[in-house]
């Protein structure tokens, strides 16, 4: 006697469900950052001259460098997931290791930028542009830090032999999260550094 196909226990369905769960989480993340993007839009429309003059005080070269770093880290994550799909756990660990390293590089560059700005007397309380700048890059930086933690955890799982081509859900989900963090930065670069 066979049970009706409910899907429960089917690893394929479990994988799809897990992904859907992560997309749901990303939906809440869109709205979390969305509040700041909304504030940005409102004040950008209200004080165009202030945003124009203040955004020129940011370091455009370092902002661009960090964009390249994050995009590269997205590539290494994508390659890592692709590796574990073929059952290559060691390769996944290498790619994710490089990604964590690139995340650290990103945060170091961000640290240098913030230090530079503090030296020039630019603080979160300086004006509305810098309030938004520090809030948006700060919240994003926290996400990078959390992402590094999650990716490191996946590396540990993989080292313990828990991941294979048959089950690599943690690698896939952490990858989706990391790409989202990259997505947010893709918008922060033009909004803060390029058009202010």
């Amino acid at each position: 006697m066979s049970a009706p196909p409910s899907g429960h226990g089917d690893p394929r369905v479990a994988f799809e469900t897990a992904k859907l769960g992560l997309w749901t989480f990303l939906a809440t993340e869109v709205l979390l950052f969305g509040a700041l993007f909304t504030a940005y839009t409102v004040f950008r429309v209200k004080y165009p001259a202030l945003f124009q003059s203040e955004h020129l005080k940011l370091n455009r070269v370092l902002g661009t460098l960090n964009t390249v770093v994050l995009i590269t880290s997205s590539l290494t994550v994508a390659l890592g997931v692709e590796a574990i799909r073929r059952g290559k756990a060691r390769l996944l660990e290498k790619y994710y290791g490089v990604t964590v390293l690139l995340g650290a590089v990103f945060l170091c560059v961000k640290y240098i930028e913030w230090t530079e700005e503090f030296h020039h007397g630019l603080y979160p309380g300086t004006n509305i542009f810098f309030s938004l700048y520090f809030m948006m890059t700060g919240l994003h930086g926290i996400h990078v830090l959390l992402g590094m933690g999650v990716l490191s955890y996946v590396i540990v799982l993989s080292r313990r032999g828990r991941l294979s081509e048959a089950w690599y859900t943690p690698a896939e989900l952490s990858g989706l999260y990391w790409h989202f963090v990259d997505l947010v930065w893709i918008y922060l670069l033009p909004l803060l550094y390029l058009i202010g």
Binding site: W23, V77, L183
Partner: protein
């Protein structure tokens, strides 16, 4: 199987190259004063980059409609929130 994965990797590298080129373009354009058009171009390029990341790196391209819904509905809500807030603050 291995041919398939080679194709997947090639796609990732092509997408990566496109993302880097678009980044360079958007930074270069920002040094040219186009007035209001600067904002339009920068946001357009950012959206193309975001779409590339979502479609290929996040595999949205091969996901079913349900996942597409989960990806797009929050963006529609965000647009609504920004638009609504803007209308309110501008007409106040």
């Amino acid at each position: 199987m291995s041919r398939e994965s080679t194709a997947a990797r090639r796609t990732y590298f092509i997408v990566y190259a496109a993302l880097i080129v678009l980044t360079v373009v958007t930074v270069l354009v920002s040094y040219v004063n186009l007035g209001l058009l600067n904002v339009v171009v920068a946001l357009l390029i950012a959206s193309v980059k975001a779409s590339l990341v979502a479609l290929f790196f996040m595999h949205l391209k091969s996901e079913d409609r349900l996942v597409w819904g989960f990806a797009l509905v929050p963006i529609a809500f965000l647009a609504l929130i920004i638009l609504g807030t803007l209308v309110d603050t501008m007409l106040r």
